[in-house]
Structure formats: structure tokens, C-alpha cells
Amino acid sequence: MQVPIDEPCLTIKGLIKDCGPVAGLDGKMIRVLAGVDFTARRGSVTALLGANGAGKTTTLECAQGLQPINGGEIRLLGQDPYRADAHLRSRVGVMLQDGGLPPSARPVALLEHVARMYESPRPVAELVERLGIRSFANTGIRRLSGGQKQRLAMAAALIGRPEVLFLDEPSAGLDPQSRQIVFELIEELRAEGLGIILTTHLMDDAQKLADYVYIIDAGKTVASGTVAELTSATGQQAEQRLLTFDAAPGLDVAGLAYGTLQHLEVTEAATGHYAVRGALTPRDLAALAGWWAEMDILPSSVHMASRTLEDVFLDLSGRTIR
């Protein structure tokens, strides 16, 4: 079955997933996913963002057909992934969080083995070259570094020329050089029209790579949009801004927020580093400058930006990275 090019390659609606029984909870089931919505399209990178334990990997494993679901609906290339046949699986590449590579195997031998599962696989030599695997081509997998394993797992995910690519925490354990290689490749694959779905808990990665972001918290989708949409916070919320300034430590920010600026949140985020969050207006800036004048403060730096993805994420998940 051919899915039209503009159709989503993955749709998840109201996904519910229970796990367990959990020994520590008297053998009760726990609800890991309680309503995840997610859509990914071809030719774009869609990121699933969440803190550790938010349900990112479980969501991905359900979408990959590795786990049965307890409610909701998943369509991967128009089909139910848990009942996927070999034809569907050949169109989907998966890089698991822990790699899933046999420790006693050797990289190139493993890639050649996996390649034989496909009718017309990508040449192993091409992937070895592209992902810089040559230098450890015949080293036992258990002796590879985290970054080397990640690149090998990525090669294994790509060997069958997939249309949809799942990457669970693709930048975990990557040194700067590996990160560069992997990120460039992801952008190249997007340009080739692959639908790329990745999870990350690194805001920088999402901001750099993702066309579209879904934020999940405690097993639910709590926000979605392009990075620009999420950070500019249109809609009911007025323009959210973040102003930071550096000055002497220990200023009475509570006093500042109490007065004309009480609709803003002012914190000393780090010693001598202050953050003002909220719907900043030009009048607020004047008030802030007035306060500086009154207190005889000359900030050593002042910086203003729209919110970062990290701010959005912290807002939505209770301002703590759990």
C-alpha cells in the first residue's frame, strides 16, 4: 500500500500504554502513556521531547511495533506497526536507545548480515565510509566507545534504505566529531525525503534539528508545534520574552518584581545572573532601567531573546528537569 507523499508517515492518536506488573507496587500495572498524540511527515525531522521517564522510548517502541498498546491508535505508513509484515519493516529503519547490537559481533560483519535481510540494501562500504566506521570496522562491538556504537547503530538502521527512520536519543554519548557526522547525515536524509522521528532530552538538539516538536510529560503530549511556534508562544499567551542581565550578586529582585514589574518573573538564576521572564513590554524595559538607575546598578551585560525551547519545556513540565 502506497501512502501519498503528503500523508503523515506516522500518526499516533491518544496512545495509552500500561506496563507492569510492577514488583514495588504490589504487582499493579502502571500507566506509562496516558494520551500521546504525535504526527510525523516525510521530508521532515519530528522530535519527541521530554524529560527522562516521560515516556519517549515507550512511545517509540509502540510506534516501531515492539510493544502492543492498551488504547488509542498508531498508523505507521498506513498500517498497524504491531502487526507489521516484512514489507512494512523493510521500509522502516530503527536505531534503539541501547543500540541493540550483539557485543560479540564485529561492525562490518554485522552490517553485512543485516544487509542480507533486504532485497536491495545500501552498500555496506558506503555507510562505513559515510559514518566513519572504517577505523573500527573489525573491532569487537563490546570494545567500541559510546559514539562508535551509536554510529554503527545508525548505519544498521539505514542499511535497508528506509522511508521512515526512528532514532532514539541519537546524540547520546556522541563526541563533538561524531555529533557533527550524525547531524549532517540526518539533514541529508531529510532532504532525500525520509520521515525522521527522533527523541531527545537535549533542547539544543531539538532546536537545531527538528522541523516539528512534540513535548511529552508524564505520558501525555502537552505541546506541539514548530520550534518557532513553540518559542514565540502565539495564541492566548502574550509574547513571551526572556531578558537576562549580569550584575552584582544578591540584588533584591523580590522588591523589583513587587512593583511595576509584578506581572513578570524575576529570578537570580545563578550568582549575579538574573532572568526576567514574561510578556515584556517597552514600558517594562523602561521600568527596569529606572530600577537600575534608582539602585545605581550598571549591568555588565543585558540580553533579550524570545523564549528558547528549554523555557517552553520547563514551563510545561513544572520548571524542573526530572
Partner: protein, 247 residues
């Protein structure tokens, strides 16, 4: 447009890969080849089996075949699968065109391939020592050995898929020693304490040993032993399907 290789290609490819991994693993090789051959020599030089059968080697060899099946299908395969599960290899491979069913089929093929090599090696050594099997029992014996290998594969998967790999390692090794010594596999049930005989008789180890001895010594088809093996295959298979955890 991506497409999978054909089903037989995928399964045979996986079977060959797993068989090579098994044969490259030193510990597995000791378990699969060295220990059974040592056991055979021990049974020939000691009077343990005297009073049964036509000669010590004729009495010992069928049990050694059964021991080989248990080594490879239960202990070796179980341990490998347990660690593959720990490292996420089962999950990764089941996302490729191979799939879950192909992965299991590949394991069965690998077990049968390694068992074939074991049988050839053991047969050659046994024939050199003076083994003279009943020729009419060869085909039934091969079929029963096949059935035994499937039964032990199912049981190995059941253990590997339900407990931690360290526990799989301990359980399958311990059971191998216990069943080899007192499970009716190389020493016939009749040689063991009479109080335990009814329990030992229904073990898959005793059933496989008895079936092979009946075929290769007396050229008889042991129906009850075959039915016991069949029952273990079905029980092990259903249990593995029901309780096997892929991650």
C-alpha cells in the same frame, strides 16, 4: 523502494549467522562438543553401563546424541538468547524484515545445524571406538533427535525469555549437569534409584535418551518416549509464546 529479501533467505541467513556465532564461542564449543565426547569416553572406559545392551559404546552413543541436543538447544541457545535479550539484539532484529518469527526460526535452524555437526563428529568417534547401531533404527532416531532438539529449544527460549540472563546462565547450566548425571539421558532410568524413576521417566532428557536407545539398540520405535517429547515441545512452545519477554 525498499523491499525485504525473501522469507527463506532471511531465515537461512539468520540461522547461518547464529550457528557461526555459536561455533566461534569457546564456552559453547566445550559444552557442545568437548563435554559430550569426554562423557562418551568415560562411559566406555568405566563399567557404568555394563549389563545393558550389546557393548558399552552401543549403549553410550544414543545417550551422547541426546546430550548433544540438550547442550546446543537448551543450554547454549538459552544462554545466547538471554544475553541477546539483555543487549536489545532481539528488539533490534525484530524491527528488521527478519521479525520476531524469523528470529525464532533462525535460532531453530542454527540449533539444527550445530547439532548436525555434533552428530557427525560423535558418530565418527563412536564408529572408530566400535559403535554398531541398528541400521533400521537410524531414521526414527534422527526424527526423534529432531523432535528432542525442538523440545529443548522451546524450553531454552522459555527460560531465556522470562528471567535475567545471569539466571538463565545458572539455570540452564545447572539443569544440564543434573539432567546429564541423573536425568535418564546417558544413564538409563533403570540404573537410577527406583524411588525417583517415575519422575525421571517423564523428563524430556529421559524421553530423548530412551527413544534413541530404543531405536539404535533395539530398532524399536519408542512411542511413549516420543509422546513425552511431543508433550514437552507443546508445553515449552506454548509457555514461550505466552511468557517470552522481548525486552
Amino acid at each position: 523502494m525498499s523491499a525485504p529479501a525473501s522469507l527463506p533467505v532471511r531465515i537461512l541467513n539468520q540461522g547461518r549467522y547464529e550457528a557461526v556465532m555459536m561455533l566461534r564461542n569457546g564456552e559453547q564449543l566445550i559444552l557442545a562438543v568437548v563435554l559430550p565426547l569426554l562423557a562418551m569416553v568415560a562411559l566406555v572406559v568405566t563399567p557404568l553401563l555394563d549389563g545393558y545392551g550389546t557393548s558399552r559404546i552401543n549403549m553410550a552413543t544414543p545417550g551422547i546424541f541426546a546430550l548433544c541436543a540438550m547442550s546446543t538447544a537448551f543450554t547454549g541457545q538459552g544462554i545466547a538468547t538471554g544475553f541477546d535479550r539483555r543487549y536489545g539484539v532481539l528488539r533490534y532484529l525484530s524491527t528488521t524484515p527478519l521479525g520476531r518469527a524469523g528470529l525464532i526460526a533462525g535460532k531453530v535452524i542454527a540449533v539444527l545445524a550445530v547439532l548436525l555437526i555434533q552428530v557427525v563428529l560423535v558418530s565418527v568417534v563412536a564408529l572408530l571406538i566400535g559403535w554398531r547401531p541398528e541400521l533400521s533404527g537410524l531414521v526414527p532416531a534422527l526424527l526423534q533427535l529432531f523432535l528432542g532438539a525442538i523440545a529443548f529449544t522451546a524450553l531454552g527460549l522459555l527460560v531465556a525469555g522470562t528471567v535475567r540472563p545471569e539466571a538463565t546462565l545458572a539455570i540452564t547450566n545447572l539443569l544440564w549437569i543434573l539432567l546429564a548425571a541423573a536425568g535418564g539421558i546417558i544413564i538409563p532410568v533403570g540404573h537410577l534409584p527406583s524411588l525417583l524413576q517415575p519422575f525421571i521417566e517423564v523428563l524430556p532428557s529421559a524421553a530423548l535418551g530412551d527413544a534413541l536407545r530404543s531405536a539404535l539398540i533395539d530398532s524399536q520405535f519408542n512411542i511413549s518416549a516420543t509422546l513425552i517429547l511431543l508433550a514437552w515441545t507443546i508445553l515449552g512452545g506454548l509457555g514461550a509464546v505466552r511468557w517470552f519477554k522481548w525486552s
